[in-house]
C-alpha cells in the first residue's frame, strides 16, 4: 500500500461513517456542515461520500470555487483584452468556458484570439520572454493557494526585466466570505470544513474569529476521503458538545501559523481591496489587487481597453448556490439550459463548481 492509498482505505472510511452515524443517531434536525473549497466539493462527489453519511448529517457547498466567484465583468475585460491584436492571453484551463456577458474565452479562441492554457504562471512569463513583440496577460484567479505563485511570476518578470508581462488580477481571500455566511440569518451552518491548501498558506488561526464571533466550529480538513470523513466526525463532536474552536485534521500539511514565506510574497506584491464576488456582491477586504509598487504589471491599469456593457444571466441561481442556500437541482436552469457543455452560470463551468460536480457525479 502506498502513502496515498492509506487515505483512501475503504475500511477506514466506512468505520468513520459508522462512528459519525452513532454520534448523531436520533437527532431530529440534521447537522449542516459547509465545505468552502471547490476541491472538497469535488472530492465529496467523486468518492460518493454523501451516500455514506447518515441523514442526520448534511453537507452543503459554499463559495470555494475560484472560477465560480469570478464576476462577469472580469471575464468581459479578459475577453476584450483577448481581442487586441498584440495580446496573448494565458490562463488556467478552467477559465476558458466561463461565460462573460456575451462571450467566453473559448469562443474568442475559436474566433482567432491567441489564448493559451498554461499550467503555471511561470509558463506565462516564459511565453512573454519568447514573444517580445506581444503583450502577454496572465489571468490571475484563485484564492490564497494560487496567489503566491502569481505574485512570484510578477517578481520573476521584474527580475528578468520584462516589460510585456501583465497580470489581470482577481484573487480572493477566504475567511471574509465565511464571516458573511456566518452572519446570514437565512443560513444555519453548524460547522465549516475549512479549505486545505488555502490553510497551508494562511494558517488555521485565520479562522479563529469565526469561532469566537459566530460560535461556528471549524476543522481544517485534507482532500482524501478519510480526511473528509474524519473532518466531519470532528465537526460533529464539536457541534454536539456545543463547542466552537479551530481544529486541524490536516496536520500533515497545515500549521496554526501557515507559510510565512508565501504570506511575505503576497504582502509584497498584492494589496487587499473590497472585491466583487459573483452572486454574492462586494465583500470588504476580500480581494487582492496588485500593489502600487508593481502597477506596471497590472493589466487593468497598463492596457486600456473598451469593455462591453455588463449583462447578468437571467434566472441563474449561482449566487444562492455559492452561499449554500439552494442546491444545484433547485435551480430552474440546472441540467436544462445550463449544462457543462453550455453553462449559463459559473458553478457549472469549473470542474470544481458545485453544479458541475452535481451534474457529473450526483445524478
Amino acid at each position: 500500500m502506498n502513502y496515498l492509498d492509506s487515505f483512501r482505505d475503504k475500511e477506514l472510511v466506512q468505520g468513520l461513517a459508522r462512528r459519525i452515524a452513532e454520534l448523531v443517531r436520533g437527532r431530529e434536525k440534521p447537522l449542516v456542515f459547509m465545505e468552502v473549497c471547490g476541491t472538497h466539493t469535488m472530492a465529496i462527489y467523486q468518492y460518493g461520500l454523501r451516500s455514506l453519511l447518515p441523514p442526520e448529517v448534511k453537507l452543503i457547498s459554499g463559495p470555494g470555487c475560484p472560477v465560480c466567484v469570478t464576476p462577469n465583468g472580469y471575464l468581459d475585460r479578459a475577453i476584450a483584452l483577448s481581442r487586441l491584436p498584440d495580446v496573448i492571453i494565458t490562463t488556467f484551463g478552467d477559465m476558458l468556458r466561463v461565460p462573460g456577458s456575451t462571450s467566453s474565452l473559448m469562443v474568442e479562441r475559436a474566433k482567432g484570439a491567441d489564448i493559451r492554457v498554461v499550467y503555471s504562471p511561470l509558463d506565462a512569463v516564459r511565453i512573454a520572454a519568447a514573444n517580445p513583440a506581444k503583450r502577454v496577460v496572465f489571468l490571475g484567479v484563485g484564492f490564497e493557494t494560487t496567489a503566491p505563485t502569481v505574485a512570484g511570476s510578477i517578481l520573476a518578470a521584474k527580475a528578468q526585466g520584462l516589460s510585456n508581462y501583465f497580470v489581470l488580477a482577481s484573487h480572493k481571500t477566504m475567511p471574509q466570505p465565511m464571516a458573511i455566511l456566518s452572519a446570514d440569518p437565512d443560513l444555519s451552518v453548524d460547522g465549516y470544513i475549512c479549505p486545505a491548501h488555502v490553510s497551508a498558506i494562511i494558517g488555521a488561526d485565520a479562522y479563529r474569529f469565526l469561532c469566537t464571533e459566530y460560535q461556528v466550529p471549524c476543522v481544517v480538513t485534507g482532500f482524501e476521503p478519510t480526511d473528509v470523513m474524519q473532518g466531519v466526525e470532528m465537526l460533529a463532536r464539536q457541534a454536539l458538545q456545543g463547542e466552537s474552536r479551530v481544529e486541524i485534521q490536516y496536520s500533515r500539511v497545515v500549521s496554526r501559523e501557515g507559510n510565512a514565506k508565501a504570506q511575505g510574497v503576497l504582502a509584497e506584491v498584492f494589496t487587499p481591496f473590497d472585491a466583487p464576488w459573483r452572486g454574492i456582491g462586494v465583500l470588504p477586504g476580500s480581494g487582492l489587487r496588485i500593489a502600487d509598487a508593481y502597477s506596471e504589471f497590472d493589466a487593468e491599469l497598463a492596457i486600456p481597453v473598451q469593455v462591453e456593457e455588463l449583462k447578468e444571466h437571467q434566472g441563474c441561481l449561482c449566487g444562492e448556490i455559492l452561499k449554500g442556500k439552494v442546491a444545484p437541482g433547485d435551480c430552474p436552469l440546472f441540467g436544462g439550459k445550463c449544462t457543462p457543455e453550455s453553462p449559463v452560470g459559473a458553478c457549472m463551468v469549473s470542474s470544481e463548481g458545485t453544479c458541475a460536480a452535481a451534474f457529473k457525479y450526483g445524478r
Binding site: N2, L4, R8, D9, K10, V13, Q14, G38, T39, M42, Y45, Q46, Y47, G48, L49, R50, S51, L52, P66, V67, F92, G93, D94, M95, L96, R97, P99, T102, S103, S104, M106, V107, R109, A110, K111, V117, V118, Y119, D123, R126, V141, G142, F143, T145, T146, H197, P225, T339, P340, E341, S342, S350, S351, E352, A356, F359, K360, Y361, G362, R363
Partner: protein, 336 residues
C-alpha cells in the same frame, strides 16, 4: 453564445461531439440514427459481409512516448474494424502536410505506419497526399480508412448489452492520453507512461470463439472509458455499474491525473477495449485476455445491473456511489 462556432470540445469525443453528429451532420448526411452508430459500418455487397470505417488523426505532439501519429493512425482504424468483430484487410491513408514539414519526420512516421500495418496483418493499399501553405495546417494530419471481413453471424454492437453482462477491460486505462499530455510542450512532467497504442484485432480474434456470449466490443479512445460506457448504456438502454476499486490504472497515470485534476475514466486510450460478455462466459473471456500480450492486466470492472434509460454509476473505492456522465467538452486542468 457559441451556437455558430465549432469549438475544440466538438472534437473531444464527448457530449459536444455527439450533439454535432446528432443535430447537424447525421440528419443532413445519412439519416442513420445515432442509436445505430458503431465503430464501423456493416456492408453486405453481393453476399459478402464487410465492415468499413474511417478516422482522422490530429494529435499534438506528433511523436510521444510509445508511438507517433503514424502507428496511431493505423492502429486506430484497425481497432475500429476489430470492435465490430471484423478481420481487418486493408487500409487507405491520406496525408495533409504543412509546407515546411521535415521529410525526415515524415519518413519516421511512414516507417511506423508500415511496421504497425505489418503487426496488424493489414495492407495499406491506396492513399493520397496534399500539402497546405505554412500556417494553414499543423505539421501533419493523417486520415485512414479501412475495410474488414465479417466472417461470422454474431451481432456485436453497442446496442447488444444485456442485464448481467460483465464489463471487462484488457488493461490499464488512460496511458495514451497521459503519455501525450506529458510530452506536450510546456508541461514538464516525466510520468514514465507510454502510449498503449496497439492493434487489437489479434486479441479480438481470440475472443470471437465466445460466440453469442460476446455482446459488445468498443475501444474507449477519446472521451475515455466513462464516455464509451455511457454510449453503450444509452444504446442498449441499460444501467452499467462500475467498481472503482477494480479499475486497472498505472500509478503514473493516477499521479498525473491527481496533479492536474483530471479523471482517468475520461482519459483517451489507443490499445484498450471494453468487452461486455454474458456472465457465464465472463471468466473465460478474462482468461483469454490475460493469456494475450495485450491483455495481461485485464480486469472485470463492472456489470450491467438493470434495463433502464442508459445510466452509468460507480461504486467508489471507499464504498460510496456516484453517477458517471459523458465528457462534457475538453478535459481541462483545474485551477488549484
Amino acid at each position: 453564445m457559441n451556437d455558430d462556432l465549432i469549438l475544440l470540445g466538438h472534437g473531444s469525443g464527448g457530449k459536444l461531439s455527439h450533439q454535432l453528429l446528432d443535430e447537424l451532420i447525421i440528419p443532413n448526411l445519412s439519416g442513420v440514427p445515432a442509436a445505430g452508430q458503431n465503430d464501423a459500418a456493416l456492408l453486405n455487397i453481393g453476399g459478402v459481409k464487410l465492415a468499413f470505417t474511417t478516422d482522422s488523426y490530429v494529435v499534438d505532439p506528433i511523436f510521444f512516448p510509445g508511438g507517433n501519429i503514424g502507428d496511431l493512425a493505423v492502429n486506430g482504424t484497425v481497432n475500429d474494424l476489430a470492435m465490430m468483430g471484423a478481420r481487418p484487410l486493408c487500409l487507405s491513408v491520406g496525408f495533409i502536410l504543412e509546407e515546411g514539414f521535415l521529410k525526415s519526420e515524415l519518413a519516421r512516421i511512414v516507417t511506423s505506419m508500415r511496421e504497425a500495418a505489418d503487426a496488424a496483418g493489414v495492407a495499406i493499399v491506396t492513399g493520397d497526399t496534399k500539402v497546405v501553405p505554412r500556417g494553414k495546417g499543423d505539421r501533419i494530419f493523417i486520415n485512414t480508412s479501412g475495410i474488414g471481413a465479417l466472417e461470422h453471424n454474431l451481432a456485436i454492437n453497442g446496442a447488444a448489452a444485456c442485464v448481467g453482462d460483465k464489463v471487462i477491460v484488457n488493461g490499464c486505462i488512460g496511458d495514451h492520453g497521459i503519455a501525450v499530455l506529458s510530452a506536450r510542450e510546456g508541461l514538464e512532467i516525466d510520468s514514465g507512461i507510454k502510449s498503449d497504442s496497439a492493434p487489437l484485432n489479434g486479441l479480438v480474434a481470440e475472443l470471437l470463439p465466445l460466440g453469442e456470449a460476446l455482446h459488445v466490443l468498443r475501444d474507449p479512445t477519446r472521451g475515455g472509458v466513462a464516455t464509451t460506457l455511457k454510449e453503450i448504456a444509452l444504446q442498449s438502454g441499460v444501467t452499467v455499474k462500475l467498481s472503482e476499486e477494480s479499475l486497472p490504472i498505472n500509478p503514473g497515470v493516477r499521479g498525473v491525473c491527481s496533479i492536474l485534476g483530471l479523471d482517468p475514466l475520461y482519459v483517451a486510450n489507443e490499445g484498450k477495449l471494453l468487452a461486455l460478455v454474458a456472465p457465464e462466459r465472463a471468466e473465460e473471456a478474462l482468461a483469454i485476455m490475460r493469456r494475450h500480450p495485450l491483455g495481461k492486466d485485464a480486469a472485470v470492472i463492472g456489470e450491467v445491473t438493470e434495463a433502464s434509460a442508459g445510466r452509468v454509476v460507480m461504486e467508489t473505492a471507499v464504498g460510496g456511489v456516484r453517477g458517471v456522465e459523458m465528457l462534457a467538452g475538453e478535459q481541462l486542468p483545474r485551477i488549484c
